[in-house]
């Protein structure tokens, strides 16, 4: 289950210039939600919106294209999007919910559907769950430390953050680019990520990430019937330009390698947890 079940995998990017400007990669998430909203496939989407503090996301229910656009781009810190899952059906009255999230958040969505213990009337209302690839996430204070202490940039002057080619990148409004090796950032990672066994959002309807495709493009896995339905319609409507994934560099081999690395490393962590103390261990959540 390294790459999960999927029906198709392509390289893609949005054909909408406005969306691409400010999107993290190929604008897949924002474009697909914007189209799904327009077509009534979803009534709204839970995204990581802006907050009062720079680069600190606040989960929000976006019901307009403008709100979706305001939530573009990757914030490398915790946005508890699932906290709004039930609320989206209540205060916002959504019957068809779109939701974006990391692989662990897609796991939360599926658990909410199969074991809806505190999720009354939610299971049938998940219309489009878009997963993003994820190697690890950070607490907000970690991002402050990484950007301000290690990259020597003010958080509020940063216009984009990115992880790629073994480095953490911070781009500023005045054109400066700071980069630090990922080995510096490792100690700041969220501990809960170290037991995570999914890189490419195996349980999403559609999942996407930057790895595998050239800059400005995204790798897209279409995984479920729901996902296929939305994706095929969006393609027919001209929302995306696509390329055969077999024809782009570095391609699926790199995705497979990174996914395998993550799973192998974290499986070791899980094993190490079992004998963490002396004759005592820590919990394994996968039972």
């Amino acid at each position: 289950m390294v790459l999960g079940n999927y029906k198709t995998c392509v390289a893609a990017r949005s054909t909408d210039k406005e969306i691409l400007k400010g999107a993290q990669d190929g604008g897949i998430v924002t474009q697909l939600f914007a189209y799904a909203l327009e077509e009534g496939i979803i009534d709204g989407a839970i995204v990581a919106g802006p907050s009062d503090e720079p680069w600190k996301p606040e989960p929000m229910v976006a019901t307009t294209r403008a709100e979706l656009l305001a939530a573009r781009g990757t914030k490398y810190n915790l946005s508890p999007n699932i906290s709004l899952l039930k609320e989206a059906t209540r205060s916002y009255g959504l019957d068809r919910i779109g939701i974006v999230g990391t692989p662990c958040q897609m796991q939360a969505v599926r658990k909410a559907q199969l074991y809806p213990i505190g999720m009354r009337d939610v299971p049938d209302k998940i219309a489009l769950a878009i997963g993003i690839f994820c190697m690890e996430n950070f607490p907000y204070q970690s991002i402050e430390a990484i950007v301000e202490d290690h990259c020597n940039q003010k958080l509020e002057s940063v216009t984009k953050m990115d992880i790629g080619k073994g480095k953490f990148w911070a781009y500023t409004e005045r054109g400066a680019v700071s980069q630090i090796p990922l080995k510096v950032t490792h100690k700041y990672e969220q501990p809960g990520c170290h037991v995570c066994l999914d890189y490419v959002s195996n349980l999403a309807d559609v999942s996407t990430g930057s790895v595998g495709t050239p800059d400005g493009w995204s790798t897209v896995f279409v995984r479920t019937k729901n996902g296929e339905n939305a994706w095929n319609k969006a393609i027919t409507a001209g929302c995306f330009e696509t390329q055969d994934i077999a024809g782009v560099k570095p391609g699926l081999d790199l995705v497979t390698k990174l996914a395998t690395d993550k799973i192998t490393k974290n499986q070791k962590t899980l094993e190490a947890r079992a004998s963490f103390g002396v004759g005592k261990g820590l919990r394994n959540p996968y039972l």
Binding site: M1, A112, R120
Partner: protein
């Protein structure tokens, strides 16, 4: 028509919210009763005075130790039901009845309430206050498949019910504190927010990306912990979410 299973709703000290939740499956409830389960015991719905033999007993409410009738009835339920399900927070964890101190009309001496697991062995827990109609439906269908299905269906139902059976073994105290003890303190929380969404009384909020528990608000229903993807997460079941969801939809059509 294939053989149905027999299901009863046993009412202890609860607010009837669990039964209402069961009924909130609307036409789904009729579907269950038409095709899969005969309701053989239920307050106001079935004219039967004494707990009969049944496959599945859905027990709502905690047991009042001073009410002889309730104590007898829960014991009888255990003896007569193949599978005992603690339906909802009160039966599973005591829930709001943990806060009782007696002194109410017209039985002021009734003051001690315990989850049913304090007096009998329980097979399956459905936490939450109220438990959701969809979770009750899923357990009913899985119980049906477990008892009457093909070998393949039995296996699926067994895998599905396993974590809910493990919850019944885990203990009969619940609190938002479970998130602290078993998830956050264990270095497992990844800040998804499921716990906050699950809590019926908004005792869980998310501060700085992690759950913050207002313990004075917590009614001890157990929903937050059970909903958390880092409490239990069985890949065998979860990877099949699409097929299982379709199966449930199909049988409810």
């Amino acid at each position: 028509m294939v053989e149905k299973i027999t299901v009863g709703h046993v009412h202890m000290s609860g607010c009837t919210g669990c039964l209402v939740s069961f009924a909130d499956n609307y036409e789904g409830l009729f579907k269950i009763l038409d095709n899969y389960a005969d309701l053989v015991y239920a307050l106001t719905l079935v004219d039967v005075r004494h707990v009969p033999e049944m496959d599945v007993a859905l027990v709502e409410g905690s047991v009042c130790l001073q009410d002889k009738c309730s104590v007898e009835e829960i014991k009888e339920t255990r003896e007569k039901a193949k599978i005992v399900v603690a339906l909802g927070g009160c039966a599973a964890y005591g829930n709001i009845t943990r806060f009782c101190r007696g002194g109410q009309w017209n039985q002021p001496q009734m003051e001690s309430y315990v989850p049913i697991g304090d007096l009998i062995d329980v097979d399956v827990y459905i936490p939450g206050c109220a438990p959701t109609p969809q979770q009750i439906r899923n357990v009913c269908l899985m119980a049906y498949l477990l008892l009457k299905g093909t070998d393949e269906q039995k296996e699926l139902a067994g895998a599905y019910l396993k974590p809910l059976m493990a919850l019944a073994k885990r203990g009969d105290e619940a609190c938002g504190c479970d998130l602290m003890y078993d998830v956050i303190n264990q270095g497992l929380c990844m800040g998804c927010g499921s716990c906050a969404a699950a809590c019926p009384v908004r005792a869980v909020t998310i501060e700085g990306g992690k759950p913050q528990i207002e313990r004075d608000l917590c009614i001890k229903c157990g929903a937050c912990y059970a909903q958390c993807p880092r409490s239990f997460f069985n890949f065998d079941v979860m990877n099949e979410f699409e097929g299982i969801s379709e199966l449930i939809k199909e049988v409810m059509q």
